[in-house]
């Protein structure tokens, strides 16, 4: 997935002279996860560069560049460090088009690795998507595989509105089904890792059905898509796994069609449960599919605690927990 993201950035830097890429350790070094590797050497120091350690400044400066006419792509080194930029994201980038009645806009892409699974403790593991999807004016996107990662990233960069682009860091170097003791896998040979070299897009606002099924719908995104797939296998339940890809705008049609078909729904995410994005999915599903539901929508999520270093795998909503929910919902 790292290479796919790198390729997406490379393609856009090549196609559009207004695209610039910057962030902490992004330039010479190529990013702590190597996502911008070699891009400074290729596209020049004026297009790809390092910054002071100030996430708020990075986004503030990007908003100004957007007003000039550039199309900035910025990296926040870990999603856990996006909070200092919260004001510039929420009060500025998200509202600029609205408050100026379209005179100015903020065509930024804010890339940031999120999620657990690397023993990063409470400050390298968070999943803050739910606070961004609550804010009017932001789009929020989370890919689950290399193909989508590149196609969604290009769509995000070309989008004229600010996009929070959350990258599941546990998937950077291979798919991960949530079983830490299993063999480490790489993306090689994965069907969704056959990524075209050049320019292509995966549209924002469209989900994908990662696995067809009739018994229950599992709504997931990012790392949890792989966990959900593993849980479906493990449980033997004929689950349909929907990979949302875009959280905002959400592909409500695909969600609705699936739940109306199955009559049951489980929502899975790594973020804390209360007021997480899963709450919105529960609300929407019961609003749109109430009379089709045979059981309450279940949530399998991170607990309402900080991400505890030693208990990474007790916190992480792994395939066992999802499989149990699949069993429970089928029994109810």
């Amino acid at each position: 997935m790292v290479q796919a993201l790198n390729s997406g950035l490379d393609v856009m830097l090549g196609r559009d002279p207004d695209v610039v890429l910057f962030g902490e350790d992004v330039g010479y070094f190529g990013g702590v996860f190597r996502v911008s590797d070699k891009l400074q050497a290729k596209h020049g120091i004026n297009r790809v560069f390092d910054t002071p350690i100030a996430e708020g400044g990075i986004v503030g400066v990007a908003v100004g560049m957007g007003a000039y006419g550039l199309r900035p792509v910025v990296e926040v080194q870990f999603a856990d460090y996006i909070y200092p930029a919260f004001d510039q994201i929420v009060s500025e980038a998200a509202r600029l088009r609205y408050r100026s009645a379209g005179e100015f806009n903020a065509p930024l892409t804010i890339r940031t690795p999120y999620g657990g699974g690397i023993f990063g403790g409470q400050t390298h593991s968070q999943s803050p998507e739910g606070i961004f999807t609550h804010v009017a004016g932001l789009k929020t996107v989370i890919p689950s595989n290399p193909l989508d990662a590149k196609g969604l990233l290009i769509s995000a960069i070309e989008d004229d509105d600010p996009v929070i682009f959350l990258e599941p860091k546990r998937l950077y170097n291979g798919p991960f089904d949530g079983r830490p003791d299993g063999p480490a896998r790489s993306w090689q040979d994965h069907p969704m890792a056959d990524v075209p070299d050049g320019y292509f897009k995966v549209p924002l606002g469209r989900a994908a059905v990662a696995r067809g099924g009739k018994a229950v719908t599992v709504l997931a995104y990012g790392t949890m898509v792989h966990v959900a797939l593993a849980a479906a296998e493990e449980s033997g339940v004929d689950a349909e796994v929907v990979d949302l890809r875009s959280l905002l705008p959400l592909d409500i049609e695909t969600v609705e069609a699936s739940v109306k078909k199955t009559g049951r729904c489980i929502v899975v995410h790594e973020a804390t449960r209360t007021c997480g994005y899963g709450a919105e999915l529960c609300a929407l599903v019961q609003e749109h599919c109430f009379y089709h539901l045979e059981a309450p929508v279940l949530r399998v999520t991170g607990w309402d605690t900080p991400y505890p270093h030693a208990f990474e795998w007790d916190y992480f909503p792994g395939p066992r927990r999802v499989a149990k929910a699949l069993g429970d919902i089928m029994a109810s």
Partner: protein, 412 residues
Amino acid sequence: MKNSDRLRLHIPVPLSRPGDAPDFSDLDIPPPDRIARPEVTAPASDLTSLAYGLVRVLDDEGRATGSWDPKLDPEMLDRALRLMMLTRAFDERMMRVQRQGKLSFYVPCTGEEAVAVGGTLALDPADMLFPSYRQQGALLTRGGRPVDMICQLLSNAGDRLKGRQMPTMYSSRALNFFSISGNLGTQYSQAVGWAMASALKGDTRVAMSWIGEGTTAEPDFHYAMTFASVYGAPVILNVVNNQWAISSYQGFAGGGQSTFAARAIGYGVAGLRVDGNDLPAVYAATQWARERARANRGPTLIELFTYRASAHSTSDDPSRYRPADEAQRWPLGDPVARLKQHMILRGLWSEERHVQLGAELAEEVREADRQAEAHGTLPEHPGLVAGTMFEDVFKEMPWHLRRQRHELESQS
């Protein structure tokens, strides 16, 4: 433990409060040209004394003297005076309209007209402005029409911002005037970003921004200074030190410990402290900073030393926290009166013409107000369509907003 051993917390207290006589004994006001105008290419480390001085052009008699004198021609002086007086007439009228209940809110800039007008006149119209809510003078200087501005204030059918913003939060892309934010200071790092983009593209345009001295405590001040310094951004960063941030005097922003211009020093940035009520001085300092930026010598921080003569806004009552006559006694005078004095001294102006111009401008604004109110006022028929509030959240409206618009419309 002896009492003298104990630590004490220092809570700043201004020299005078309501009931006291205004006390400006802590101000040191040098004559013009105490510090000469340096080359625009001078290294920032040679400029530190400028951060503690006060760039002035007009002396107490209204004569322009010293090496900072920008030698403004009569036409420019005329223009500057007219714009300052227009700004004041605009404020006066809008305060009245607000009291009549037609506006929800207003922010005057009385006493600070030279800051916005002088700074903007010294730039090229293509240079980009990132203002706060107190730079209506900049918009008027750029050619913003009073009638358009009043429509924004009224949130009426003529408001190009579609009623989305509180009064005074103007925006004008055509006039290179950035959309004003209600969140203090955010425009500062944005201005730096715009300037970085201009430099990155090999353009020639510079950016300028203003914040109040109280706002220097917000993070964007620090971001702006850091990024501008690191990347040598062609940007002019103004701190309008009008002594007050709502009820908090400038001591709560650190003004008791140093000047705001001196903040530049630690970032290796040029810092100027300027008499903000002296229009030629504001002009000259801005011009210097612009030339410096254009010569690829990077940013300048300018502290404009002035006084907020009116209330913070129509929601504020300054008599609760400062002596009622502090404004009248401000040692640096009134910017309009000082420019007028200078022009009369030079034989370019007279008391009669001044009174006449004042009346003309009041009438001009009154007429603009009449025209604007014809498009409606907020409490009565704004004449706007509520459904438009779902537009411009995104470039294209997603399903959930379409659904919500439908919900709204099906209820009315």
